[in-house]
Amino acid sequence: MAGAFWCIVEDDRQGMPKKVMAEVIGEAARLRGGPVEAVWLTDKASDAGLRLLGELGATRVWLLEDAAYAPYRGEVWAGAAAELAAKESPRAILGPVTSRQREFLARLAARLGVGLAADCVTLAMDGDRLVATRPVYAGKLLAKVAWARGPWVATLRPNVFRPVDAQAGRAAAVERPALAAPAARMTLVERREEASTGLPELAEAEIVISGGRGMKGPENYTILEDMARVIGAAVGASRAAVDAGWRPHRHQIGQTGRTISPKLYMGFGVSGAIQHLAGMRTSKVIVAVNKDPEAPIFKVADYGIVADLFEVVPQLTTELRKLMEK
């Protein structure tokens, strides 16, 4: 019998799986390559969280619950997950692209001596093997890859795979394997929270509004934040805006920033340099507003308005507010 497809749970550090898990579990089920199971390393899982994983379609949850698993430390997680994998022989190990799973699944693949495909945008069963595609070279090319042997380890780009709906009545068996968490050598000194804007995180937002050099200064981003609040979007920036010191680096979209694939990307005063396109060209719908009709971003945009963003943004916010109030 084929082993299971493991989905590594990304949680909100408050005991709930993140929204992106509906995409990972949904894709694992769609592949029909084996039973879908969740693996959750956490200091504290919630009953609601465990229930949600079952309703999304996990048939089993491997719950590794120990204070040692928070905050995330690769040396602790990889050791524990490798021990469980040695016992249970999963066929595939999948997780969303997040800052910790990028590191964790690379370590786990090294520990297991198998290949890793990071940041995949498609997965498919091809007979008895899994085949993945992933953008490379700033998204200019797409690489099709497969694994020499299993388990197949992959991370999935958020917002690309279709999320599965939670179905009441589906439930997962919760297993609490007797594993001792490996000892940690790195110790947390402090966590500095970012000031909460109340807006979604850039990496997983369904709508992203981005401002470039055309924003003219840091103070003008408030007009983008106003629009973002109306439609529940995250606010990002181009490298030009970040390098000018207008926005923190964690807001940068592009090759030396975040790679995002939202359902809707709207760029204001963004020229569309290659390195920015690398970070957003897989967005489903792209809107560009720029004064310069020659701006390269219009080449990838589904909808463009050639105009001064400072005239467009307030009117667009008003129209969007009307739409949302309907």
Partner: protein, 259 residues
């Protein structure tokens, strides 16, 4: 304090990428090669640690064909003391794990107190080698590092890593591995003196056999490379701004179903 910096040579971002005959590799003709930008943050940070402590050695290491010497020379020009070039046809199809195993073998020979790498190379964007090195070496590792400080005795490093919703600061006993994120520093440009001096610095060639490694098949196999399908042509919405904005909202709602 001895610091090893692992770097990768990659095509410049602006380079047009073409697929070579056979469809599994890139056509390297006409490519401008650079040191991957995140690796420059790693080199810069290593040099700053050495300068701050007033002593130490910074060694750049890279795996790849002959052209990689040029990238290593750039690191020497920035101020690295010497370089190691893992240059062997046995590694011509190296995936991240093969690369990490080769680099780990060099680290074991060199025994530095600190290993610095970039967050990811901007060619295959896998972002895995640093983590895999940490795993193979059994060293603690901080990913996406935005700030760091080595303690006076050179026993531990305090590193702040970017995480969802905040910055997490850890103490790691040395030896340790850090993956540099943008924002860690502003890399220096090599001076003319640095460029001249780099010509006299050592770049040692290392073969797989020198590290006691045999050729191994890649664990992740590239089946094919293709150009990203072009996006369907877009539409410039004409008209005065109030009209265009209303039409955009209508199109996003009714045609694209994006809001």
């Amino acid at each position: 304090m001895k610091i090893l910096v692992a770097i990768k040579q990659v095509p410049d971002t602006a380079t047009q990428m073409k697929v070579a005959a056979g469809g599994k590799a890139i056509d390297t003709a006409g490519i401008t090669w650079i040191v991957s930008p995140y690796d420059e943050y790693a080199v810069e940070e290593a040099l700053r640690i050495k300068e701050k402590r007033g002593q130490g050695e910074v060694v750049a290491v890279s795996l790849g064909p002959d052209r990689v010497k040029e990238a290593l020379r750039s690191c020497l020009a920035m101020g690295c003391d010497r370089a190691i070039h893992l240059n062997d046809p046995a590694w011509s199809e190296a995936d991240t794990l093969t690369t990490a195993r080769a680099l780990a073998a060099v680290v074991a020979q060199e025994a530095p107190q600190l290993l610095l790498c970039g967050r990811q190379a901007i060619d295959d964007d896998m972002g895995a080698v640093t983590a895999q090195l940490a795993e193979l070496l059994g060293w603690p590792c901080a990913y996406w590092v935005m700030e760091e400080a080595v303690d006076a005795e050179g026993k531990t490093i305090r590193a702040g890593r970017q995480a969802e919703g905040g910055l997490e600061v850890f103490d790691l006993p040395l030896p340790a591995v850090l993956a540099a994120q943008k924002g860690l520093n502003e890399p220096r440009y090599p001076t003319l003196k640095g460029i001249m001096g780099a010509k006299k610095k050592e770049i040692r060639d290392v073969k797989a056999a020198d590290l006691g490694l045999a050729a191994e098949p890649a664990q992740l196999v590239v089946l094919g490379l293709e150009a990203l399908p072009p996006r369907p042509p877009g539409r410039i919405i004409e008209g005065d701004i109030p009209t265009a904005v209303k039409e955009l909202v209508r199109a996003l709602r009714e045609d694209a179903k994006a809001i």
